[in-house]
């Protein structure tokens, strides 16, 4: 197995930028601030625009790696940015939600128009998920930072393990749809380009899916994570929707659930444009570049890097939570 130059560049440069650039800047920053009156510069020594620019560049690379690894941006953004940047976790979670929301809104329309995302499936699950995401956001903003940091760390490690273990089923076999999905008319047809034919699909275990979306919504609201990492396995492995329908509908559900939680963060003053906007812009630009690189880079290797990054960020958040 030989890797091309492009692969090596991607595998080495992107993670290095993600983890070490803020560290290098922070170290330089500390050195710089030692020689300058503290009150003349922002909290960490550098001018504000350096941090904003750094956040934009960082989010750009995060966007590339997120799309190549097939994960949402939010799940990488919150643990890594909260570990490496000087922002309070409240603002990182608020920005993380906005990043996930902006990404889902811009991706939602083409997915709906192509018939990959399913409106009925999404609306049924999002209603219950959005209610629990409001409660998640309220709990998340009420708890002390170290508790959130600690539970975020454990959650991120858990997500990394799920990503490592979870299987995928391209076209799950459903013997019969359940009663609730029949009442809600949740079924569909989409055109599978790789097979050049229409695929009929239906779902089962709808009540179990609804309960799981309560949990997913709560966690998304509490940590500002977005929730593609959980939505997709539930749609695909629990409800039995085809993988492409699951991924597309997950994006759409995210746009509804994150909206509910985002309002709570906005009203609590936990969304700073100075942090949220560069993150949104960087991430969206990065995902566009990432989509173009998708065919050139070995996604399996990138997935391993993402899982490693998540584990590192998760353990770092746990240590921070313990005050270490």
């Amino acid at each position: 197995m030989s890797l091309k130059f492009c692969d090596w560049l991607f595998l080495l440069v992107v993670p290095a930028v993600l983890f070490f650039l803020p560290e290098i800047v922070f170290a330089a920053d500390v050195v710089a601030s030692e020689g300058i009156a503290a009150e003349s510069l922002p909290s960490e020594g550098f001018a504000w625009w350096v941090w904003v620019l750094l956040l934009f560049v960082f989010s750009f690379f995060l966007g590339i790696i997120a799309v190549v690894a097939g994960v949402g941006g939010g799940v990488l953004y919150v643990p890594i940015v909260s570990s490496l940047f000087p922002f309070h976790l409240d603002f990182v979670r608020g920005a993380g939600l906005m990043v996930a929301l902006a990404g889902a809104l811009s991706a939602g329309a083409p997915l709906l128009n192509k018939g990959l995302a399913n409106l009925r499936l999404a609306l049924s699950m999002a209603l219950i998920g959005s209610i629990s995401s409001i409660f998640g956001a309220l709990v998340g903003l009420a708890l002390p930072s170290h508790i959130i940091q600690l539970s975020l760390g454990f959650t991120i490690v858990f997500i990394a393990i799920i990503m490592l273990m979870a299987k995928k089923s391209e076209f799950p076999e459903i013997s019969a749809p359940d009663k609730l999905s029949q009442i809600l008319h949740i079924h569909g047809i989409y055109y599978e380009a790789s097979l050049k034919k229409d695929i009929d699909w239906q779902i089962h275990r709808t009540p179990v899916g609804l309960v799981l979306f309560v949990v997913i919504g709560f966690m998304a609201g509490m940590f500002g994570l977005g929730a593609g990492w959980a939505n997709v396995p539930v749609f695909n492995l629990v409800l039995g929707a085809p993988l492409k329908v699951s991924v597309a509908t997950s994006v759409f559900v995210l746009s509804i659930n994150d909206t509910a939680a985002a309002w709570i963060y906005l009203h609590k003053g936990a969304v700073l444009p100075l942090i949220a906007v560069p993150s949104i812009a960087g991430m969206m630009l990065g995902t566009k570049i990432g989509a173009k690189l998708l065919t050139r880079v070995k996604t399996k290797s990138v997935r391993v890097i993402v899982i490693t990054l998540l584990l590192l960020a998760g353990f770092r958040a746990i240590l921070k939570g313990f005050g270490i």
């Binding site: 906005m98 939680a261 003053g269 906007v277 560069p278």
Partner: protein, 138 residues
């Protein structure tokens, strides 16, 4: 032809169309709002450097320190660059409500009782979150 069968239904098509325009406009607003903010084309409620000096503080502490309004009170200060940038983010958060309202009308016209109810309830949940009844204040 195969693709003929896999076209989205009317409600889904309407949601997709509305979402396309609402989200495109949202991204434009967010970029414009941010440009107005950082280039200080309008006066700011709180100088950028003051925010940067204190962004390590929690949201509640930062708001208290600068007497920043929570909930919808920012609407009274719309002619400030930082508030305009914040307003653009608020618009982005309202995009889904606009799309749901459009699709609720489609479901209602189609006499689809189940999904008219679900869409209506979903709008209620989001409007409730957006109202600031819960979540605003300290």
């Amino acid at each position: 032809m195969n693709e003929k069968h896999s076209k989205p239904d009317n409600a889904q098509r309407v949601y997709g169309q509305v979402l396309h325009w609402v989200s495109t406009l949202g991204i434009v607003f967010v970029i414009l709002g941010f440009a107005i903010y950082i280039f200080e084309l309008f006066p700011l409620k709180v100088p950028i450097s003051d925010i940067a000096k204190n962004w390590h503080l929690g949201a509640e502490e930062l708001n208290r320190q600068f007497h920043l309004p929570t909930g919808w009170a920012w609407v009274n200060d719309m002619l400030h660059g930082d508030v305009l940038s914040f307003a653009s983010i608020v618009y982005l958060s309202g995009a889904t409500i606009i799309c749901l309202a459009a699709v609720a009308v489609v479901f209602f016209r189609e006499k689809n009782v189940i999904y008219t109810t679900i869409a209506f309830l979903q709008i209620l949940v989001l409007v409730f979150a957006a109202s600031g009844i819960i979540g605003s204040g300290h």
